[in-house]
Amino acid sequence: MGDLRKFAVAVVVASALLVAACGGRQEQSGESGGGTQLIRVDGSSTVFPITEAVAEEFQKKHTNVRVTVGISGTGGGFQKFCRGETDVSDASRPIKPVEVEACRKQGIEFIEIPVAYDGLVVVVNPKNNWVDHLTVAELKKMWAPEAQGKVTRWNQIRTSWPNRELHLFGAGVDSGTYDYFTEAIVGKEGASRGDFTSSEDDNVLVQGVSGDELALGFFGIAYYEQNRSRLKAVPIDDGKEANGKAPVAPSVEAVKNGTYQPLSRPLFIYVSKPAADRTHVRHFVDFYLTDGAALVDEVGYVSLGDEGYRLARDHFAGRVTGTVFAQGGSQVGITIEQLLARERK
């Protein structure tokens, strides 16, 4: 009997793990009954604060609609989106060709809608008194795949910095922020060292950097704005004179006027065409592109301006499917003006 009990304990431990392992995979399916309409959103944790704020306001006006917003990361979100498990996908980079292909196989057409601009903020702990700015080359030295296990101390980045351990925190590989950051800094999407604390949840990264004097991390500007007192933003120098000689500190202004490069980028929502034909989803997206503009500023991102949202509404009303980013994936250095020019075509 005793043996059996010990065995049972082992089984419980193992099965608990398996349940944890499988839990992430189970989806609620379809519409819920009782007259309540469900809109399922998942994807980027960078876009999450906007969608969450919009969903909250929207549900106040439409009490019979429930909007669920998940944070699986941009890549994770697209996987669910292209399986038809979600109606709207938050994305912090344009959809990739492989993802377009996956959607096409399932017969899911999508409407691409830019909703805001973000500046990726590189942050350190407030107690860090040695970092005044970073160049793109220095960031690359920290994050490149070759750095793994080798670049582990601050003085390896700049010799005047202390000989202390460097603790890196960054977006996980399912995240569009990870894709964009590696493209912009390392020069190749998806290429980075693997020995850093990675999470798809930006709150984990905020927690990590704010509690660790030796930390350096990066995430969307909204998470910095909400945690200003616990973090210190690092000005970035891209070495290009066109964007001003000096290092540029991340700010709404610098993102808006295009000088905060190469870490400024557009944020998107993707709406599946079948879902867009449902009345409450249409109302939700219209609401996103009208009343949502104010919320974009409120949560800390940069809004696209009246013309940007008008173009987006036109696209949505005309059900313009597909992506304007033919090469797909992260595109570095696109300003708001250039984005709007593409959308006007």
Binding site: A14, A21, S72, D174, T197, V209
Partner: protein, 291 residues
């Protein structure tokens, strides 16, 4: 009437079978997926490699950093749970008057009923800042604070199993010890604990097994950075936390990334299973039998 009895017996038997089949199913899945994993990643690299980056472009499959993280946190947890558990068991079994025991035991067991996610945030948001006041070099994510909190969580398990073992030691032994002039402490440490040795050891090993398999606390408070270190101040990642991390994203089934969690799960299963076997063996081997 007999027919009814027969039905009941069969139903109970079926219930028992379900758990056996579940176990068999779990082992089969673990074996199958691990086998697929090892067709890509060599067993030697898995067991002895020092870099664990299976999700990245430059993939390495050395599980040692995860094992080191798990052992480090478990060791800290044991450093808290074993002495505290043993001492509270000695108190409850040898010192406490019956009404104090009636009061304390349920209170202690409440600790075991707290959901582990609560312990996780307790470690992250309360214990870590508290220790940081004393040790400024402690990172926000570290092995120390979840280790301590996990230890506190395991105390009831250790104390209740140990106390059961100590209370089953016949009173004659205690009385003989007192008659020879031993104090209560001498009696507890030199007579009762050795007499209950097999039960106490079994409790300790079960506690280790619990610590190795604990998931939520480390996933929340220890960080997500596989790192081969025994420094308790820096972020690490345990085997269980890695499985959680991969499961939270959306790794497609059938990829090598997906199979890593089964390989790690298999190793974890073998570890806890082995510990439980040792616990059972010890208890039978060193049992003192009092007629």
């Amino acid at each position: 009437m007999r027919r009814w009895e027969f039905l009941i017996e069969r139903t109970l038997f079926a219930c028992a079978l379900i758990s056996v089949f579940t176990t068999a199913g779990i082992i089969a899945v673990l074996l199958f997926e691990s086998f697929e994993f090892f067709r890509v990643a060599p067993l030697g690299e898995f067991l002895f490699g020092t870099e664990w980056t299976p999700l990245f472009a430059d993939a390495h499959f050395g599980v040692l950093p995860l094992v080191a993280g798990t052992l480090l946190v478990s060791a800290i947890a044991m450093a808290v749970a074993l002495p505290m558990g043993l001492l509270s068991a000695i108190y409850l079994s040898e010192y406490a008057s019956p009404w104090v025991r009636r009061l304390l035991k349920p209170v202690l067991e409440v600790l075991a009923g707290v959901p582990t996610v609560v312990y996780g945030y307790f470690a992250l948001l309360f214990v870590t800042p508290l220790i940081q006041a004393a040790v400024p070099s402690l990172s926000g994510f570290n092995a120390l604070s979840p280790g301590i909190v996990m230890g506190i969580m395991i105390v009831p398990l250790v104390s209740s199993l140990t106390e059961d073992a100590m209370r089953s030691v016949p009173n004659g032994l205690r009385e003989a010890s007192f008659a020879l002039g031993a104090t209560r402490m001498q009696t507890s440490l030199t007579v009762v604990v050795p007499a209950a040795f097999s039960g106490v050891t079994a409790a300790f090993i079960l506690a280790i097994s619990r610590a190795v398999g604990e998931t939520m606390i480390v996933a929340i408070a220890a960080g997500q950075q596989p790192r081969l270190t025994l420094d308790p101040r820096v972020p690490i990642e345990t085997m269980t936390a890695y499985i959680v991390q991969v499961s939270l994203g959306d790794t497609p089934a059938g990829t090598i990334e997906y199979r890593t969690i089964f390989a790690v799960g298999m190793l974890l299963f073998l570890g806890t299973f082995g510990l439980n076997m040792v616990s059972t063996w010890l208890r039978n081997r060193y049992r003192e039998v009092y007629a």
